[in-house]
Amino acid sequence: MTNQTSSTSEIPLIVEMRGIVKRFPGVLANDHVNFELKRGEIHGLLGENGAGKSTLMNILAGLYRQEAGTILVNGKPKVFSSPRDAIKAGIGMVHQHFMLVPSQTVTENILLGLDDPRFIMRLPEYDSKIAELGERFGLKVDPRAKIWQLSVGEQQRVEILKMLYRGVNVLIMDEPTAVLAPQEIEGLFETLRAMIAQGKSVIFISHKLQEVSAIADRVSVLRKGVATASGVASKGVSRQELARLMVGRDVIFALDKKPGKPGDVVLDVRDIYADNDKGLPALRGLSLNVHAGEIVGVAGVAGNGQSELSQVISGMRQCKQGQVILAGDEVSNHSTLFGIQHGMAYVPEDRTHVGSAPNLSITDNVIMKKYRKPPILKNGLLDMKAATKLANELKQAYDIIVPNVSTPVRLLSGGNLQRVILAREISGLPSFMVAVQPTRGLDVGAIEGVHRLLLAQREAGAAVLLVSEELEELLSLSDRVYVIYEGKIMGEVMVKGEGHDEALVDTIGQMMTGTPLDQIQNEGVAANG
């Protein structure tokens, strides 16, 4: 397309996909997509959620079968009827949701499905083979460790090793950075570069622009199943240009965030301890507070107690010690109704199972917090006319795009469903709202809408606690950010103004991997002295 240097065009194609078509019920996921991968390159595959990136790559990895189009590997046409076929042709994929068996060791996971060892496994032999392979690509992991003992970053390394052990030349990584802390992302990038140096090729699927610009040699972009760019040199294209190719219109990166005017403390979490579902400690002496008119972020790698924190605050989980105080009253270890009566709004992480009742209509879903009072309650019965009226008003006000409000919410897109939940929560005029991963899985347009609603809450004087794994989101919305690690707060940082503050990101990154804030500052002082 643009700026293709002559040296790269001489490199032979290792994979060529021509005119790929794949349909799912009601969706044309890939519409005559062409894709080319050169030997020894990192190829970024960009697109919004649902643009068809994973579908295209699942076809290449043999998990799905295309309805039309051909795949050429090293110039020869190939038909893959299973992932095994693709791996035989040298193509392996690391999925977003890891395909690992938690109760088994690293080696066992890697050897699964191979013909060598033949029948009896002599694990120690293979342990050392795998350790060596890890050494070669900078993928440090103990072959004898059980998967459940490993961090998410280490599990990803096992997934990569699994493919390298099978001798793949093309590695497809599906959203590999979604689960990693900033420092771990750097480690992953180093591994990918080491692979390139040893003649492998990488396809890097992502919806994050800056990552793709940072790691990829060339970029292809998908939008609604159609390739809007294929194989553009990443140096020759701006972030804005890529965003336009992804979304189809200009995206406003800066949000209209007015200077904050924090009021009194609304939510005060004091030294809470709580267990997770397995009965293991998830929160260990965690304290934080949120003022009126303020968005406070909670950053951290998934699984460090974020879910449990939001559940304790909303009343869905008991805490063993400590208190949650909302507007002067203790709400911890009370019913969820008690919290709601004290002005609590809760936007849970799991939209379909906790946030809504999938088979019920929009109307039923939006009155779930209001049915106890007039106008919905009338003479001890539900006034469905009033409910429908309310639902229609909310549909209008919150841009819920659906023909009518009797539609079951399971039929809504992620963005529309989130708007239904936000409509229900916000229309109760809460004094406090806890929102967990409110934009996960939404496309860029819907994310923008959710962000605007959260900022509007802040301006209306509500206190908002925003739990998110997207650092960018936290930094653009929050006034302050707490970093959580293994159920404890590692530190709290103020977010000043707009823009990307490298030092701040680095500090947060270090806290996300377990270094408390005071130690980071000490190191800084030592380095300066």
């Binding site: 992932p83 068996v101 938690p102 009896i120 496994m121």
Partner: protein, 310 residues
């Protein structure tokens, strides 16, 4: 009267019959362990055992060859397993419900065949005790462990064999992976369907032998519903044993020892109501199951049908 229980002869008798009584549980539970480790709950064990018991008895009676009887039980068990596999793997049936269906089928079918082909209760001369040279001469120990029939020995040899296959072979790795994360196994080219067919049919074969061990090695008769819940206990023992062959062995021994004790209590005429005595092993099972409930985790994909999203 109680003191009679503690004489050496009686103690040896209790232990020897305890060892013997564990036989059908071991075959059935080890078979069920393979199935459950691959993610399939087969509640039809009881039905497979009943048909196995009938097939073994009838064939042994008509041909006069006990080994033909065992073979017949294995074939019948394999066919039941094949059917179960088709229903659960290909048709994605609810495993709990289809298992109960297979139990009722086995119960009814074995009775029907018994009525049509035999009509009256008969006996066969079952597998005789097989003394192990030297070992069977050890006082006490020899009588308890080394003077049993061949199917008893087979049941105990099955335990280390099953442990070895599950933990030390690639086949075992496939079985465990399919039961824990079938998507992962599938993504590496392991056929989830083939592995589950294998374990369910193996479970059927072993349940068939379990039935045969009752009808031509331990009791040497066939009666309607002669297993009387034994197959369900075998399923419970898999949970009890934490899906591990050695754990299953422990459970089977505990259960059959208590069972043996209550039988001897009745034989010796100790004045405990027989209903209470008969209840003992079952009450014990429930108590132990409750006590060990959260000790080990079940295979993650247990009872979950597998279907590739496409």
């Amino acid at each position: 009267m109680i003191s009679e229980l503690f004489s050496v002869t009686v103690l040896i008798g209790i232990l020897a019959s305890g060892i013997r009584l564990a036989t059908p549980y071991l075959y059935a539970s080890i078979g069920e362990t393979f199935g459950q480790r691959s993610g399939v709950l087969n509640l039809g064990v009881e039905g497979q055992m009943l048909l196995g018991a009938f097939a073994a008895f009838f064939v042994a009676l008509t041909t006069g060859n006990l080994w033909f009887g065992v073979l017949a039980a294995m074939i019948v068990g394999a066919l039941m397993g094949l059917l179960m596999a088709f229903v659960t793997v290909n048709l994605h049936a609810q495993q709990g419900i289809s298992g109960i269906g297979f139990y009722l089928f086995g119960l009814g079918m074995s009775d029907l065949l018994f009525q049509k082909l035999m009509g009256t209760v008969e006996t066969v001369k079952g597998f005789p005790p097989l003394k192990i040279p030297f070992l069977s001469n050890i006082p006490g120990v020899g009588e308890i462990f080394f003077n049993q029939n061949i199917l008893v020995y087979g049941a105990y040899l099955l335990v280390p064999a099953a442990w070895f296959v599950l933990n030390k072979t690639t086949l075992g790795l496939k079985i465990r992976s399919v039961g824990e994360n079938p998507d992962a196994a599938d993504s590496l080219g392991v056929s989830v369907a083939r592995v589950r067919y294998f374990t369910i049919i193996l479970g059927g074969v072993l349940s068939g032998i379990a039935g045969a061990s009752l009808s031509i090695a331990l009791l040497n008769v066939f009666q309607q519903n002669m297993t009387s819940g034994l197959g369900f206990i075998a399923v419970a023992l898999v949970y009890f044993g934490g899906w591990r062959p050695w754990g299953v062995l422990g459970g089977a021994l505990l259960f059959s020892m208590v069972n043996s004790l209550q039988l001897w209590i009745q034989v010796l005429g100790i004045p405990i109501p027989s209903d209470i005595a008969v209840m003992m092993p079952y009450v014990l099972t429930i108590l132990v199951l409750v006590a060990t409930v959260s000790r080990v985790r079940a295979p993650t994909a247990l009872t979950r049908p597998f279907e590739r999203e496409d």
